[in-house]
């Protein structure tokens, strides 16, 4: 059973998680160790090896290989069109890679369906926010939680089982409100997501990903269009979450941000990894400067 539901169990009434525990088989023994112990730091959370993805004549990802340490904040940078988003797509099952493997916590997850990927605890956000436009912000956030009993049709319909569903919903809702507050969007809780501003959508997108209680988050330019002050706050939270054992892989173009917040940086260029290392190293790398940073740094 995944750590996250263990968490619910210990903090809440327990009934919900008891039954919920049976419904998913994806997470493996490996995650029985809750990341909260934080000593998984150093282990390899995500390993990408020789990933290739072609679109017609264009090879978007061309043999990219890299590893992400558990409990780290890793940056993935590279020029526009380097293949970062496509790499995310391949890792999370949106696209089928043409070659290469992806392993998460030691498990081969190459080419699995996106929903399975999320079941494993590997969740991503989209570069262009994909909110459920005609659902309210609240509904958007109620959606992602795992092990929702009410997602089984019969439980939602049968009166007895329904009571448990409602109980679980109440607990979930509590969590949703916490999240809303965390992202400071509780004032738009009952708005349709489609009416949010560009930046608000980004926040919703990240909030929603967190609601799945993932172990690793792939964030595709999460701060593009987010106001700097809010960005700062979110970064603080990311650090807190990291301290709790989450792993982050972040695509970002803001070099200051990368320098300041990532302990490890991977640079992609033309579909493969050009360089990696600690931020300082990477930014002084000649090739990186030439391909990405421009003369500036």
């Amino acid at each position: 059973m995944s750590d996250t539901s263990t968490d619910i169990q210990s903090t809440e009434t327990g009934t919900a998680a008891d039954t919920a525990g049976t419904s998913s088989d994806a997470p493996t023994d490996a995650d029985a160790v809750a990341p909260s112990t934080a000593d998984r730091t150093g282990e390899i959370e995500l390993a990408v090896d020789g990933l290739v993805k072609r679109f017609g004549g264009i090879t978007a990802v061309d043999g990219a290989s890299f590893e992400v340490e558990a409990g780290s904040i890793t940056g993935l940078i590279g020029p526009n069109g380097a293949g970062k988003s496509t790499t995310f797509h391949c890792i999370t099952g949106i696209h089928q890679p043409d070659a290469g493997t992806v392993a998460f916590q030691g498990q081969d997850i190459t080419g699995i369906a996106p929903y399975q990927c999320a079941d494993y605890g590997l969740v991503r956000t989209f570069q262009i926010a994909r909110e459920m436009a005609n659902m309210t912000v609240l509904e958007n956030l109620m959606l992602p939680a795992k092990h929702q009993q009410g997602e089984a049709l019969w439980r939602s319909v049968m009166p007895l089982a329904r009571r448990e569903v409602e109980e679980q919903e109440r607990e979930l809702l509590e969590r949703v409100w916490d999240t809303l507050e965390f992202f400071e969007i509780e004032h738009i809780a009952e708005e349709k997501a489609g009416t949010l501003s560009g930046g608000q959508r980004k926040l919703l997108e990240m909030a929603r990903a967190l609601m799945t209680e993932p172990e690793m988050l792939l964030l595709d330019e999460p701060f593009a269009g987010v106001n700097p002050t809010l960005e700062q706050k979110l970064l603080e939270h990311i650090h807190e979450l990291r301290a709790d054992g989450y792993t982050f892989l972040i695509v970002e173009h803001d070099m200051d941000l990368i320098m300041e917040h990532c302990e490890h940086v991977i640079v992609m260029h033309q579909g493969s990894v050009l360089a990696e290392g600690v931020p300082g190293q990477v930014t002084s790398n000649e090739q990186v400067i030439e391909a990405y940073l421009g003369g500036e740094v």
């Binding site: 679109f55 264009i58 940078i77 590279g78 020029p79 526009n80 069109g81 380097a82 970062k84 988003s85 570069q127 262009i128 738009i188 009416t195 949010l196 501003s197 560009g198 930046g199 608000q200 980004k202 926040l203 330019e221 593009a224 269009g225 987010v226 106001n227 700097p228 002050t229 809010l230 960005e231 700062q232 173009h253 803001d254 070099m255 990405y292 940073l293 421009g294 003369g295 500036e296 740094v297």
Partner: protein, 234 residues
């Protein structure tokens, strides 16, 4: 008399009012930046200039002429260009076709303008026959910019042009904007990359909750402690 003069503008979507009493001015050749928190109404303000929101009161004048109620193609004729924040390319058209669309109101595609755009964004020349929809996020942003430049407008509205661009391109983009501005086009830019934008601009607005809170020169805003804390991330 400012070239663009927005005075006491109220606007929104349907019944929902977003902007109340917004004042914006852009002088000939000026470089103006709007910053502000998410959801403050920055994009809405831009769209309002372009006639894309529900008009609720106030005035929008361009070169002394009231342009509220005009259709976008009429506004383009008057000399304003606009690059929206999201979904700003035609995905199933090629890059070149996207650019050509920018000059739709002309009878002929202005070859010189096209070459200028290609010169500014060389990658677009290489990818001229690729479907814009299959370009990366940053590449799409360039296509959108390029398209708005095709008509060589008097005033260019850019909604977060640097979002999603790689650092070198961010700088390049700012340089482009400078260049455009230097060449005699006034620009009005919404930016979250606020520090950089404020550094370069002539004047800045801080928009909060649908109304403008601060107006000043870019430098002044940059050095205003409150503004820094609240809107520029310290």
């Amino acid at each position: 008399m400012a070239m663009l003069d927005v005075a006491g503008l109220d606007a929104g979507y349907g019944d929902l009012q977003i902007l109340s009493d917004v004042d914006l001015e852009v002088e000939q050749d000026e470089y103006v930046v709007i910053v502000g928190p998410n959801g403050a109404g920055k994009s809405t303000a831009m769209k309002s200039v372009f006639g894309l929101t529900t008009y609720m009161g106030g005035a929008v004048e361009f070169n002394g002429e009231d342009i509220t109620g005009l259709s976008p193609d009429e506004i383009i004729h008057k000399g304003i260009g606009y690059v929206p924040q999201t979904e700003n390319v035609f995905p199933s058209l090629t890059v070149q076709e996207n650019l050509e669309m920018g000059a739709y109101i002309l009878d002929e595609v202005p070859e010189a303008a096209l070459q200028d755009v290609f010169d500014q964004f060389p990658i677009l020349r290489d990818r001229r026959d690729q479907k814009a929809g299959s370009m990366s996020g940053g590449q799409q942003q360039m296509v959108a910019m390029g398209r708005a430049l095709m008509l060589d407008p008097d005033l260019l509205l850019l909604d977060e042009p640097s979002a999603g661009l790689a650092p070198d391109l961010v700088d390049e983009m700012f340089d482009h904007v400078d260049a455009i501005n230097d060449a005699g086009t006034a620009v009005l830019v919404v930016e979250q990359n606020a520090k950089e934008a404020l550094r370069r601009c002539d004047r800045g607005y801080v928009l909060v909750q649908g109304g403008n809170r601060y107006v000043d020169t870019g430098d002044a805003l940059l050095h205003d402690e409150e503004v820094r804390q609240q809107f520029l991330g310290g």
